[in-house]
């Protein structure tokens, strides 16, 4: 079964209603089309407010899309209504969140939560405590933790790095095909970041789990990915293998690359970094990046750019449209 699972996002859109009677509408995710196959590390890269966490929550069926659908092996995940079906979905698609401290119920022991997960997905282990402990110990070892490190401890007694590893181990227990990791390294120590990313790389290679890593760090995305999707204000602007980050096509990706601080280069503030929500009413007809783009052409503000296939990568920009 594993190796064949796919998640397809089709015209996925999420609009949040704010204010009195929901009159203010904000587009968080805007017609995202994406096919995620198992067997690759997908990296969704975007700045704050680009809708990347919203996509993660929608894939994990925690948030209902406004329009569009998410197909798991050709079944719309929101057509599942029985808990049994949803649980089967969660058996294949697991999640890891940004904040390791709030990922565990503060009133329950971390190990109890792991046992809980195991028993829910593999009830046969309930009878066999020795194998259950072995199973969990192996899962913990694969993320670099020893079962004795967390035995009997609550989340506030463990470090952020340990908790994030335990959180990944929890996600591994049902033997999923996909793990959606929403900024898994942004709240752990810089020294632990690469270790955690290495875990994801190992998971893919040794266990066949396909991580979907969501992040904002340009170099970390380059480090651990087979395919990168660059998100800007809820739209995919560029998509391709990690090499696109070496020589980006879309002006936004270029801007991202230039804003990576390097030790051997003097920092020059060339482009102003501006982030804002976009309301439905205020959104223009043209390219979403037009107001910040240094290469803006008249057409950019009038018509939405098409998705152009550049061979290796796909880019949503007028600059590459054949005249």
């Amino acid at each position: 079964m594993r190796g064949k699972d796919t998640i397809v996002l089709r015209d996925l859109t999420k609009i949040f209603s704010l204010g009195l009677l929901g009159r203010k509408k904000i587009i968080a995710v805007d017609r995202v089309n994406l096919e995620i196959r198992s067997g690759e590390i997908l990296n969704i890269l975007g700045e704050s407010g680009s809708g990347k966490s919203t996509i993660a929550k929608m894939i994990l069926r925690l948030l209902r899309p406004t329009k569009g659908e998410i197909l798991f092996n050709n079944t719309n995940i929101w057509s599942m209504t029985k808990w049994k079906e949803i649980k089967e979905y969660y058996r294949r698609v697991q999640g890891v969140f940004q904040d390791p401290y709030s990922s565990f119920n503060p009133r329950r022991r971390v190990l109890d939560i792991l046992y809980d997960t195991l028993y829910n997905y593999f009830p046969e282990y309930r009878e066999d405590k020795v194998s259950a402990k072995k199973y969990i110990a192996e899962a913990l070892e694969s993320v670099g933790l020893n079962i004795s490190d967390i035995e009997g401890k609550y989340s506030h007694q463990l470090s952020g790095g340990q908790l994030q590893r335990a959180s990944i181990a929890r996600a591994l227990l049902p033997k999923p095909s996909f793990i959606v990791a929403d900024e898994p390294v942004s709240m752990v120590d810089a020294s632990t970041r690469i270790d955690i990313l290495n875990i994801f790389i190992d998971l893919k290679e040794e266990y066949g789990v396909s991580p979907i890593i969501i992040g904002h760090d340009y170099s970390l995305a380059y480090y651990a990915s087979d395919r990168i999707v660059v998100l800007y204000k809820g739209q995919i602007v560029e998509e391709g293998p990690p090499e696109v980050l070496e020589d980006p096509a879309h002006p936004y990706t270029r801007l991202l690359k230039e804003s990576v601080p390097l030790i051997d280069r003097k920092w020059s503030k060339k482009l102003e970094y501006r982030v804002g929500d976009i309301e439905v009413s205020r959104r223009g007809k043209g390219c979403i990046f037009a107001d910040r783009c240094p290469f803006k052409k008249p057409i950019c503000e009038q018509k939405e750019p098409p998705v152009i296939n550049l061979g290796k990568s796909k880019v949503k920009c007028w600059l590459y449209a054949s005249k």
Binding site: L62, Y90, N105, P106, N120, R170
Partner: protein, 291 residues
């Protein structure tokens, strides 16, 4: 089984909450005042030969060995009046606080978990209760009540003072519902019922206990106010003593013991319950914990 019980008891004895509670001076001070007033209400009637309405024959006698709180204008023993009054006022308060906490926790949880229209409806009711002083509604209803017994008054006060608890629980549950660990609990294969019992209820349990104590303090304040205004339970109560003392000129006659003793007990009870909440919060809330 017994070893499980033992380990559970050891867990309680060694838990941080209990250990911190033992060290908290505010807790001990307020808890002992509340406890002694409750004990006074329970054993008081056995310490005095008089009932609240037994004529003693001596009018306006100052506190003495025979009449520890003195006698009033009509010759009734103030100590007897007070201890019987504690029973009534406390009983009404406990019933009201229980009802208010149960309604508040249940409605708050429904609003927080369901969201949407249900949430908006409950929130509107809460806002109405916040805007109109509930004591006015209580007086209006009390006037038309056929029987004003302890239980009836408890229901009246409790059913109109749940809104604070509901609002607090609602916001707790609503933020818990979208928290990472609840989302991950679903991903761990726990159904909604399991998440409710494993993750949501344990986290609002201590909060509900605090809500009950503060509701008790408020309910006693409310019921004593109603009694003072003459709309309380038809049985003998703390507020009723103060009402009579004021109506019959206890102050101008100089019989201070008539209203001072019941008054001190009312104030001590309400204040200590409030301090009890503060001390419990210091212990339960990890952010306020001082080790």
């Amino acid at each position: 089984m017994s070893s499980k019980l033992e380990s559970w008891l050891t867990d309680i004895r060694t838990s941080t909450t209990i250990r911190l509670l033992k060290k908290n001076a505010k807790f001990w001070a307020s808890f002992s005042i509340v406890a002694s007033i409750i004990v006074l209400g329970i054993i008081g009637p056995y310490l005095t030969p008089y009932g609240p309405r037994t004529p003693t024959g001596t009018l306006m006698s100052p506190p003495s060995m025979r009449h520890p709180f003195g006698t009033d204008y009509f010759g009734y023993d103030v100590f007897a009046e007070t201890v019987y009054g504690i029973r009534v006022s406390l009983s009404v308060g406990v019933i009201a606080a229980l009802i208010a906490t149960i309604i508040g926790v249940v409605l708050g949880m429904i609003a927080g978990l369901k969201g949407g229209l249900t949430d908006a409806t409950i929130d509107t009711v809460i806002n109405i209760l916040l805007a109109i002083p509930p004591i006015l509604i209580m007086i209006l209803i009390a006037v038309y009540m056929g029987k004003r017994g302890i239980i009836e008054m408890g229901i009246l006060v409790g059913s109109l003072s749940w809104h604070w608890t509901a609002r607090a629980i609602r916001s707790q549950v609503a933020s818990m519902k979208v928290s990472e660990y609840v989302s991950l609990s679903f991903l761990s294969g726990n159904s909604f019922i399991k998440v409710l019992f494993k993750d949501i209820l344990p986290n609002i349990a201590s909060y509900s206990l605090l809500a009950f104590v503060i509701q008790l303090s408020n309910a006693i304040m409310t019921i004593v106010t109603l009694e003072f205004l003459g709309f309380g339970a038809t049985e003998w109560s703390l507020g009723a003593i103060v009402q009579l003392a004021v109506l019959w000129g206890g102050i101008t006659l100089g019989i201070w013991w008539w209203f001072t003793f019941p008054g001190i007990i009312i104030i001590a009870l309400i204040t200590s319950l409030y301090i009890l909440v503060v001390s419990l919060e210091e212990v339960f809330n990890p952010r306020l914990r001082r080790e």
